[in-house]
């Protein structure tokens, strides 16, 4: 959580970017493996210097997207442009893109320094310059002095940093990262998330970052695209995507989704935006108030989660911070009925329901009346 403190302006999108060519432009990109459309019509522009994340569940086509951009896969149709140049038919070695592979793919027979130098060696950079640039890159990833080791002598986190150094030393137009923190334990992951952010700011390279971890995507990205079945469900800043999920799928995939149907229209409200009213307590002005029965109270430490069934229909999850005057239990136990309120402007209408993606919302709307958002993207 912790998102509510950030202004809706978010990070990233600034005006100067608009008059530059985007670092990456994808148009109508499609790639199928047999019957399966792994990437199913993607249009996307990533401005230079952005930390852009592709977020989606496993199998949603994220890796295939990166492989298309890197040139390891050929698209069935569509165009890939890097810094304004069409590279769709170019092989990987002539694209100004570098990848940090999920399994790192370090060269086991080379030392760390030789690994990092490899891209420069290919480009015939003189030895002395190669050395100093490789050492500088190792410095940036905070691995100075380990250049003489073999990859096998490093820990997982260190290998990850070598893979990163090996890529950024070439100063590519775009850096592709495929779940780079996936193999690390939770503590190291958090450390590396901050590190990656810092490194991206320092080197100013456009990052296209792939993850299935919504928290990682929200905390690191300037903008993100939520993927499902090879298509972009929603594109926006973390704040936009979190606060205003465009579809059931996004609402369900990012955080806990609350989807309510009122008057034939469907809304989503984030759990921490719901105000639970103790006896006699007045809601903030401009609130929408309903009555709800508490089904379950779950103590989470810093917060308490309430499962509610509303008398107006539908179920909600509400999260309440355990501040000094709102400790768990003060609101009543399961079975009691309390007032539930939220500000009208915190409930966002969901424009489309796609392919029944969010199971939690399925029981709220009769199957007959599903509004359609993007006609062309609907599938049976």
């Amino acid at each position: 959580m912790g998102m509510q403190n950030q202004g809706p302006a978010g990070r990233g999108t600034t005006a100067w970017r608009q008059d530059r060519v985007p670092a990456v432009r994808l148009a109508g990109l499609r790639k199928s493996f047999g019957q399966l459309a792994a990437v199913d019509g993607v249009d996307l522009e990533v401005p230079q210097g952005e930390f852009f994340t592709m977020l989606g569940p496993s199998g949603s086509g994220k890796t295939t997207m990166l492989r298309l951009i890197a040139g390891f896969e050929q698209p069935d149709s569509g165009v890939i442009e890097l810094a304004g140049a069409d590279v769709t038919r170019k092989p990987p070695y002539s694209r100004d893109v570098n990848t940090v592979f999920q399994d790192y793919a370090l060269f086991p027979h080379m030392s760390v320094l030789e690994n990092v130098e490899y891209g420069l060696r290919v480009r015939r950079v003189p030895r002395a310059e190669r050395r100093s640039r490789a050492n500088a890159a190792l410095e940036i990833v905070r691995l100075p002095g380990l250049g003489g080791r073999k990859p096998v002598q490093l820990s997982g986190g260190q290998r990850q940093r070598v893979a990163l150094a090996r890529a950024i030393v070439n100063e590519p137009e775009v850096l592709l990262l495929d779940e780079p923190l996936g193999a690390l334990d939770a503590k190291l992951r958090q450390e590396m998330q901050l590190e990656l952010k810092r490194i991206q700011r320092e080197v100013g390279i456009t990052f296209i970052y792939v993850t299935h971890d919504q928290e990682e995507a929200l905390t690191m990205s300037d903008r993100l695209a939520v993927f499902d079945r090879g298509q972009i469900e929603q594109l926006g800043t973390p704040v936009q995507v979190y606060e205003q999920p465009a579809t059931d799928f996004v609402a369900g995939f990012i955080g806990i989704s609350n989807v309510l149907e009122r008057g034939g229209r469907r809304f989503t409200i984030r759990p921490e935006k719901i105000c639970l009213l103790a006896d006699g307590e007045q809601p903030p002005t401009g609130s929408h108030i309903e009555q709800g029965r508490i089904d379950d109270v779950i103590y989470l430490g810093s917060a308490t989660r309430y499962q509610l069934t509303l008398s107006g229909g539908g179920q909600l999850t509400a999260v309440r911070q355990n501040t000094q005057d709102a400790v768990a239990g003060t609101l009543g136990a399961a079975g009691q009925t309390i007032g539930v309120a939220w500000r009208e402007d915190q409930a966002y209408e969901i424009a489309g329901r796609r392919r029944g993606a969010a199971a939690s919302a399925d029981d709220l709307a009769p199957a007959g009346q599903r509004p359609v958002r993007h006609e062309g993207r609907e599938r049976g």
Binding site: N98, L106, P108
Partner: protein
């Protein structure tokens, strides 16, 4: 208590199996130093004279040289064809790829007598006289498999992402092959070659059908034993063959098991068995 007993029992069992396997070999090695030409227990005395006799025996020498030449050439052929086949099968998707893969491996599991007879009739049919060349062809049938299997296993294990990483960093063609593909394969290729050499050097059955009138070292041993001649020399030759086949096999095992492969796979997070 039960675990302890089971452990002791297991140790005794393993010890028994090892004795069963190695005592006969030990006895032969011991007999090689027997001073008498009669094999009887206890031996009369220790001597190295049979080593000298065997070394100077022109028949043994000829057989040894033939075996060496056959093994070297068969290994070279296996290296070229086996590696090429492994690359082809690994790199390209083509119709009948699985069939090709199976057919390549088949000669190893086929009884040698079938390979031998088949080759013998084929050479007869084609009017090719039995010679060093036919021995080499016969040995190549199973030596290719060894190299092919070794190289293919390594390719499957390491090449994909590492070659892509090299291409991603701008390398291609010969440079990529020289700096990444080949170094990662080299230990697999070498160990394949050593195994092929060892297999060829002590092969009897296929050789029987492809050698004609000539004797390789194993054929000479075989013949001597059947006729009951030169038995002390046989012991010496067996020790020689043993050294020439065991040493490459151990070296190959170290290359693939001890160093090369584990080092290769340990660079990634995935741990591969074997």
């Amino acid at each position: 208590m039960e675990g302890r007993l089971a452990r002791i029992g297991l140790r005794i069992w393993v010890g028994g199996v090892l004795l069963f396997l190695f005592v006969p070999i030990g006895i032969i090695c011991f007999y090689a130093f027997n001073s008498s030409n009669v094999q009887s227990w206890p031996i009369h005395g220790l001597s190295v004279k049979w080593f000298s006799v065997a070394w100077h025996d022109p028949q043994v020498r000829a057989a040894f040289l033939l075996s060496l030449r056959a093994a070297i050439f068969a290994t070279v052929v296996a290296l070229l064809l086996g590696s090429a086949a492994a690359f082809g099968v690994h790199r390209f998707r083509f119709f009948g790829r699985e069939a090709v893969s199976l057919l390549l491996v088949l000669p190893l599991s086929l009884p040698g007598i079938i390979t031998g007879i088949a080759l013998n009739s084929a050479f007869n049919f084609a009017g090719i006289g039995l010679s060093l060349l036919t021995i080499i062809i016969g040995h190549a049938t199973f030596c290719i498999v060894v190299v092919y299997n070794n190289v293919l296993a390594r390719l499957r294990r390491v090449s994909g992402s590492v070659n892509e990483a090299a291409a991603d960093l701008g390398a291609h063609g010969l440079f990529l092959f020289r700096t990444v593909t080949l170094p990662m394969l080299s230990t697999a290729v070498i160990s394949g070659a050593l195994l092929a050499f060892a297999l060829s050097f002590d092969e009897v059955i296929v050789t029987t059908f492809t050698a004609g009138a000539q004797n390789t070292l194993p054929l000479w041993v075989f013949g001597a034993i059947r006729l009951g001649q030169d038995l002390p020399e046989v012991n010496v030759v067996v020790v020689g063959v043993l050294l020439l086949t065991v040493v490459p096999v151990i070296a190959a095992a170290r290359l693939t098991g001890g160093g090369g492969i584990t080092r290769g796979s340990a660079a990634g997070p995935r741990i591969s068995g074997g």
